[in-house]
Amino acid sequence: MTDLLEVIRAIERRARTVRALRVATLCFSVSIVPVLLFFLLERMRIFTAPDGAWLVLAVLPVVVVVASFVIVRGMPVDTPKILLRVDMMLGSEERFSSLYEMHQQGQTGPYREMLESRLRDEKLRWNKALPVGRIALLVPAGLALLAGVLVTSSLFPASRGPALPEVPAVATSTESSSSSLETEGTRGVSAMGSNDPSSTPAASNAQGQHDLQDVLGSLWSTPLASGVISDDRGGLDQLISQQQQAAQRLKELISRIEKRLAEGDGGLTNEERNALSTLAQQIGSESLRQALQGLASEEDPQELQRRLQQTQELAKSLQGASDSSRAQAMRTDPSDSSHQGTGEGLAYSAPMPGGPDEKENHESTGGGAPSAGGMESGPQGERLQGGDEPFGGEGSGDASSPPGSASPQFTRREIVGSIGSSGDFKDFVTKGMPLEQAPEAESGSPGVSVDYDRLRALLSARSLPPGAEEVVRRYFDEITQGGE
C-alpha cells in the first residue's frame, strides 16, 4: 500500500505542478502582451517608451511567471477529482479514486486488497495521464519567440531586412571604389568626421556609422533609381577593376620609359606612343588623359622628360590622395568630440565630368548652394526628428561651421572626373546619396557633390530609432527618382 500511496502523492504533486505551469503560461501570455504592444507602438512611433520602461517590461513577464508558478504550486488540489481524471485517462476503472477513498476513510478488507493487487498488476504509467498540454506550451512559446524576434531585430538593426549581407559589401565597395577612383584621379574620397554635440562620442559615433551602413546597405538592395547610381554592381566592380589594371599598366609604362630615357635613348618609340595613347583612352581622369596624350605626342626629349615627370607627379598625387583618404576613412576617430560640425562620417564629393580636377575643402553644403533639380524633389515637409534641415530641401547647409574646416582630420575633397569613355562619376555614388549641385567648377562644368556628412550627421544625431532607417530609405528613394 505504501507504494500506491506514494503514487497517489506523486500524482498530487504532478497535478499541482501541471496546474501551476498552466497558470504560469497563461500569466506569461497575458504579461507578454503589453511588451509586444509597447514595442509595436514604439516602432510605429505612436508612443515613445521612457527610460527604464523596457527594463520593467522585460522583467515583468519573468516575475509574473515565477510568482504565479510558486503561488499556484503551493495551493492544494482536489485529489479525488484529479485521481478520477487519472483513472479515466488511463482506463484504470476508477481504482485510484476508489483506493484513495478507502484510504481516506481508513477502510480495510478484501476490496482494498483486491484494488491494490489489480493496480499493481496493471503497472499503469500514471504520469501520462496529466499532460501539460500543447496549447499551454505552444501559445506562450510562440509569443515569447515573437517578442524575442521583434526585440532582437530592434537591438540589431543590421540584421533586419534583406540587405543584411550587403552591409559589409557596401563598406568594402565604398572603400574599393574610392581607392580605385583616386588611383585614377577621377574621384576624391575624404573621410570627414564630426561629433554630434548631443551624443556620446564613442558609442553614438560607432552606432551612427553602423546605422549609416545599414541604410546604405538597404539602399544598395533597392530597385535602382535611374541616373543616380549604377544599376549593375557587377559592372561597377568590373569598371573599377579595369581602372586598377590601367593604373598598373601606366605605372609600369612610365617606369620603363624613365629607365630607357635614363640610359640615354632619346624619344619615345612608336610602341610606347601607342601604349600611352591606348592608356589615355582607358584612363578615366580627364587631366591624366590629357597629360598622357600630350606625352604620347611629344617629340622633344627634354620636353618629354618634363611631361613624363608631370604625368608621374599627377599620378602620384592622385595615388597619394587615394591612400590618404582611405587611411582616414579607416581610422575615422569617433571620439573626437572637439569637432562641432553637423555630424561625423564619410563625405563623398562627386563632381560631374569636366569639372576641376581637385578641390580641397569644397563647401558643397555652403549657404545658398542650390540643390540639384531632381534632388530637391523629396518630401519637403518631411523632416527627420530633431533635424535642422531636410535633405536636399533648400540646400542650405550650416555655412558657419563647415565640416571640413572644423578639424584637419576630416577633410572634404571633391574631385571631378570621368570614368572610361562614358565617364559617369555618379555611377560610383551610392544610391540614395543626398546629392547637391556644386558651384560651377573652374572648367565651367557643373558638378554634383554628395553631401555625405550631412547624411551622416543627421543619421548619427538621431541615433536611428527603430523604424527611422525605413523613413530615410523611403526619403532617398523618393529624391533619387526625381533625377540626377
Partner: protein, 326 residues
Amino acid sequence: MITTSELEASYGAMDRLTSAISETIVGHDQVVRQTLITMLCGGNILLEGVPGLGKTLLVRTIASALSLRFSRIQFTPDLMPADIVGTDIITQDESSRRFTFSPGPIFANLVLADEINRATPKTQSALLEAMEERTVTVGKETYRLEEPFIVLATQNPIEMEGTYPLPEAQVDRFLLKTSLGTPSLDELVEITRRNTEGELQLPSPVASGEEVMICRRAVRDLPIGSELRRYVSRLVLATHPESEYAPNDVREYVEYGASPRGAIAVILAAKANAFLSKEPNVRRADIEAVFHPALNHRIIRNFKGDAEGISVESLLKSVWEKTAVT
C-alpha cells in the same frame, strides 16, 4: 465489514445462482442480471413486457434456486388489500373465540405481483408499506416481513384498458424497472425445446437466504469514489428541469425529475453490478449499466413531452451524454 472468506462465499453463491438460472431461463441476460441486482440491493423490480415472455418463470426459477418462499399474486380489478396482506379472522377453540391474523401472500421472500396495474390503486397501495418498510400493518398490529423480501411486479404495457397506472409514489419504490424483449430466433428455438420435451425442471436450491444477506453486505461494502458519487448526484439533478445541470430537452419536456431515492438506487445498483462482475470498486461502467433501469420510471414528462412522444429513454440518454464526469 465483510471478510475475505465471506466475500469469496458470496461470489461462489452468485456463480451458482446465475448458473442455475441460465439452465432454466433462455436469454433475457440483462433482465436476469437486473433481477439479481435488485435482490442484492434489497429492492423491488418492475418487469414490463407482454404476456408469455417468461416473467413468472424467471421469478419462480430464482425462488427455486434460492430455496426461498415464493408467492404469486395475480392482480385483478376486484382484488382487495386484504387479499394481499392478510386479515384477522375469528378462530374458535374449546374455551373462547378470538381474532387471529391470517397472513396474506405478501408474507414470503419472493413475491410476484403479476399484472400489478390491473388492481385498483387502493389495492396497489397495500404493497407500498411492504415494499418500502418491510412491514405490514393490519388493524392495530404491525408485522415484520422476513428477509430477504423482494417484490417482483409485472405489468402489461399493451392492454391499457381497464388498468390503473401505478401512482408515482409507488413506482418510485421499485429499485429498477426493466422490459423483457422478444427472444431471438435461437433463443426461441431453445425455449420451445425445453418446454416441449419432457417436463420443465426448476432448479434445485443452490444458495440460501443467509447467503443472499451476506451478498447484500458485500454489495454495500463495495467502495465508490467520492467524485463518482458526485457524478451520480449530478446525473440525478440533471433530470430536474429547474436544475443547472439539466440539458435543454429535460428543461423542455420533463415535469418532475428523479428523487433522491433515484440517486440511492443508481449507486446501490452500480455497486451490485460491480459485485456481480467481481470488481473491487464501482466503475463508471457500472453506473452506466444501471442508469436507465434505475431512473426511467422516476422521470415524469410534461404535457409537451407526452404530446410530442418524447421517450424517457431519449431524455435519459441526453442526460448521460451531457453530464460531465468531473
